[in-house]
Symmetry: C2
Subunit: 292 residues, 2 copies
């Protein structure tokens, strides 16, 4: 069913998601905090609003893809939620902490707005080609209205129950595992390189056999070849996600020594002036440490 959707956040993930929603026949009113990001979507038939408040419709659907916890809490203000009101739905695709998601869900409920946590695993090109994987959690009513909008956008659709925080826990765990894979490849390839085994030869073996899955194949290649541009996901955003993982871990009293190591790698990469690289660039830390 075609929906009237307010789309908030036109970053590197938001823009291709909005484009696909237009292709799916939905009517979109888009808004971004900074202007000048909407032109391609306007050319495809979207309308632009000058504020989040202006973008939303009473009883309608909002999709947000925003940078961090603070942005989601600020943009989905009580004023915006009051305008949305009873029967409306907010599909929240940002990678935020589980506790923020739970707090948002409560605040939404107070205004009669359904909250569906729906973070996505996909780099921008995977979003465009609809091969990403989506984690959802929230009330049955939120999922009932959200699912027909979301399913056509992705290859995998995974339901983690009613707790609004659950999907974000899974998303943070996944981003942590991606970073762990980057670190493990960086250390392994550096070990080989120093012993005379080419990084690419090790990548070729492992990416075809024991680790023949998308994360190792994509990120492992970048690490093997030290190719950290073009940027699919900026390095400071990677640090933000690992910090959210550690924050969520701390709330649950879960020591994560590997996540702590990754946090320090990302911090060091920023200290060394690598903020403009893809987040995979923290792999350079293992090479630096080995004097390469």
């Amino acid at each position: 069913m075609s929906e009237q959707i307010a789309f908030l956040g036109l970053g590197s993930l938001g823009t291709p998601i909005a484009g696909n929603l237009l292709k799916d026949g939905h009517t979109l009113t888009v808004w971004n905090r900074t202007s000048g990001k909407a032109q391609a979507l306007l050319d495809q038939g979207a309308r632009e609003a000058s504020s989040a408040l202006e973008a939303v419709t009473p009883g309608g659907v909002v999709v947000s893809v925003l940078a961090d916890d603070a942005a989601v809490e600020e943009v989905l203000s009580d004023e915006v939620l009051a305008r949305l009101g009873e029967g409306s739905l907010h599909i929240s695709m940002s990678t935020i902490s589980a506790s923020t998601a739970r707090r948002l869900a409560e605040r939404h409920e107070a205004h009669g707005v359904k909250y569906l946590a729906a973070p996505i695993f996909a780099r921008p090109d995977a979003v465009s080609s609809r091969i990403g994987n989506l984690c959802v959690s929230g009330s049955a009513a939120a999922k009932e209205r959200g699912e027909p909008i979301l399913r056509p956008l992705v290859k995998g659709y995974f339901d983690f129950g009613e707790d609004a925080g659950a999907a974000n826990v899974v998303k943070l765990a996944g981003n942590f595992m991606i970073a762990a894979t980057i670190e493990m490849a960086a250390e392994a390839f550096t070990l080989g390189e120093k012993q005379g085994v080419p990084r690419q030869a090790m990548y070729d073996l492992f990416s075809q056999t024991l680790f023949a899955a998308p994360i190792f194949q994509n990120y492992g290649r970048m690490v093997a070849q030290h190719t950290y541009e073009p940027v699919g996901f900026r390095l400071p955003l990677g640090l933000k996600d690992i910090n959210l993982t550690l924050q969520t871990a701390a709330e649950g009293q879960v020591p994560m020594p590997l996540a702590s190591l990754l946090r320090d790698r990302l911090l060091s990469a920023i200290a060394k002036g690598r903020s403009d690289l893809d987040w995979t660039g923290f792999a350079l830390g293992a090479s630096d440490d080995a004097g390469l």
Copy 2:
């Protein structure tokens, strides 16, 4: 071409490899440090020798699958190498350090014995079904005679050049990456568990999508379900391999903070009395730390 092979070491990997060599039509004389391991192979037509020296034939082929560096250096004594002599070949499948492999290759060469490093990635059941992956390195002459014996044993055959140490570097890097995958799954699933997301639900998502490859699928399932028996690879052997990785890293001046973390996890698992578990059992450390 059918070969006369002396097969040294009938552990959990050696026995199924020897069985497949018999099926491939080779003639085997088997030996193991402790007796009582050979019966199944004798029933399949192997002959048993009472010592490594008695097992080998001048100019013949030796395959060894031994526990550690010291065992390989001791069993392949100068006396044994002198008996093997010119034109013979030793296929060394044990997981040992790169520097031990290089030292062995030199000592072999002094006796005219070709040395082929050929460590295998496979758990016992994967060896039986010939779906493992083999890394080889050594002289062209060693590979020429060894390849027809080895290729039918595995699915993947990867050549890392002439340096006898190279294949062992790759094998150690691979075992390190397997251990890293166990730790990353343990931390991620524990994070989820404490936040109310079932370990199995996280495993189901990631093993079908981002990490849909053998290592995460097999070890991740064990970690999700805390199933650390039956034992495919004993925990103290896992510590041995990570120690070899760190030793090889130290020789090359490569700091590997993730490998150091894994070493401590394995040490702790032994300290807690878990030596009889599969090495994947060090994943319990993340649960212990979280008070689970």
